[in-house]
Subunit: 361 residues, 2 copies
């Protein structure tokens, strides 16, 4: 069949497809269900007990595209919500090659030494295309991947950024209900995901490399100004001086930025993920941040703002999806784009014409 | 009447307003139209001739909220479009006190010395609230306000940022059709307007003041990374050294940023608007920028992207307006916000419920 379709596609031959085969099983026998759908109540019970296998099953439902699975997932999330919120949510980003996996491994181990549990999630809507799915290869986190109190979950790979971000945010709820009081959310730091992560974490950590000029240029514009802390990796051996120079440069650059909404002044530290140097200092900074935002009320305020943000974000995304997935609209958009690019019509009247089609029929 | 209203306002006296006067004209006589609506064709003709009075009338129609005026305005814009585009569009921003008006005055005069014409527009959706409408007081631009080749237009004050930005963008089209080959668009640099301006200009100039720490903190986060050039004002007298220090700091900070989409490396210069020092150097930088983006094709590409951007931006804005201006939706939103903030419902199911109301009935 593959072969025939290929030929058809390239128009080389006309091949008779033949008739459909009759069914080989008796259609009057009702097929046995392969798998019973999980029960939301049981899932919630398991999650609240901290059972990691149940948590993983529930996350799979959250990520599933099947409407049946989604219905159960939403029920589970709703029941877990009152038990969620009790964690430190930390976003970690950095360009490929900055040593994110190794760093998360040692940061995570440091966190776990102090007790509690750690979930490591990721947002990477591009993973399907780029193949290099972050967290996909758990073995890159040697220590965490075998730690009983760590739960590592690669990015859900299917769907739009909005969809992927929603799934990650829902997974945070489930992890928290399961007693995970530390949540790391990883992104690759080169795309659009950072705004989404920034909108679901309490602290945003940017991993940078020492270097001048081009070596520092991989990170996407605007991310630096989102960071609550910048940490410069690979501050070891011959590289220490360069790392310290980069630290001084970043510090002086941050002085030129206005204060963050929290009133916190972002700090810049150096460390070595590979040689495990400077890790407690990084975590002391994060502790200081949480003390600071607990004291000034920003922590609670930001959490509320984020919940509100995601409600409006979801609405806006769905409004757009409903509009742009309309085939008639798509066709007209393509035409209007050309008119606009050729200066035949203004952007605004073009938009108005398409909106008229949408709202008036 | 003025007097009575004033008294009422201050509650000093209660003054009987009296009864309404009967009409003094025969109501059965059809009133003569006070003013004939302008004719689009005539407006276009005047604009293409470069007549500034006609241009100003057309801009008033663009800014008008009356549907009749809007219809004419859109026709005029459509007819002007093929004659638009031939200008350098420069966004100029800086915090209040940075000396924007004085700077625009001397920059503008410098530009006009080289020939051509200059339109100075503004985006400031907050001007109604803050009273301090930018460009509202033309006399702050002493030289430009009396220059025959300059057209200064304050920000349209009514409406949302989206609406104000649209009007400014349409005004650019009319100005260009009238032969204005230099367009300045001013913003205050503390709000949301900068993204809008950035999306309608070729070059984004950020005016800063010399100073350390808090003095540099007025500017909104993220704006620095948008700038194609940063210029430090008040580099005169005792302040020269501080300005040069700030220049060095900004230069070193910009080194940490990734390259801009254009490939251009933003430059940092010092000048004095008041003493008119360093003005040609600032303009040489802008000339270099235009040579650079002309040569690498970015200029044309960005203009196309901006036209497309505004089409999609208008669509998204209208989709949101249609949704949020629905009284039933507004009521449900208020309820759902509370559920979300109290962790009774997830952001996503809350959004889903409201969307169901919108789409299904």
């Amino acid at each position: 069949m593959e072969h025939i379709e290929n030929d058809e596609q390239f128009g080389g031959l006309t091949v008779n497809k033949g008739v459909n085969q009759p069914p080989v099983v008796n259609p009057y026998l009702r097929p046995r269900r392969r798998r019973v759908l999980p029960n939301a109540g049981e899932l919630v019970e398991g999650i609240l007990k901290g059972d990691i296998t149940t948590l993983a099953r529930a996350v799979t439902l959250v990520e599933s595209l099947s409407p049946e699975h989604q219905a159960i997932a939403q029920e589970v999330i709703e029941k877990c919500l009152p038990h969620s919120g009790n964690s430190r949510r930390i976003g970690i980003t950095g360009v490929p090659g900055a040593g994110k996996s190794t760093s998360i491994d040692v940061f995570g181990l440091h966190v776990l030494k102090r007790g509690g549990k750690l979930a490591v999630l990721a947002i990477d809507p591009s993973s399907e295309r780029t193949k290099g799915s972050i967290l996909g290869d758990k073995t890159r986190m040697e220590k965490l991947s075998v730690h009983p109190d760590a739960f590592i979950r690669p990015s859900p790979s299917a769907g739009s950024l909005g969809g992927v971000a929603r799934k990650t945010r829902e997974t945070i709820v489930l992890c928290e209900a399961a007693g995970f009081n530390n949540i790391f959310v990883e992104t690759v730091g080169v795309g659009q995901s950072e705004t989404a992560v920034h909108s679901m974490v309490d602290f945003f950590l940017l991993i940078q490399l020492a270097g001048t000029g081009d070596e520092l240029q991989g990170i996407k514009r605007g991310i630096m100004e989102m960071a609550d802390g910048i940490v410069i990796n690979k501050a070891d051996g011959d590289n220490i001086q360069r790392a310290q120079l980069a630290q001084a440069q970043f510090r002086s650059a941050l002085h030129l930025f206005p204060p963050t909404a929290s009133g916190w002044r972002p700090e810049v530290l150096t460390y070595s993920g590979y040689f495990e140097l400077g890790i407690p200092e990084v975590w002391d900074m994060i502790d200081r941040y949480f003390e600071f935002v607990d004291a000034n009320g920003y922590f609670e305020r930001k959490r509320s703002e984020q919940a509100r943000y995601w409600m409006y974000e979801t609405i806006d995304e769905q409004l757009r999806a409903h509009f742009y997935h309309n085939p008639e609209i798509e066709r007209m958009l393509a035409e209007k784009e050309i008119s606009v690019l050729n200066n035949q019509q203004s952007s605004f009247t073009a938009a108005r014409d398409i909106l008229d089609l949408y709202f008036k029929g």
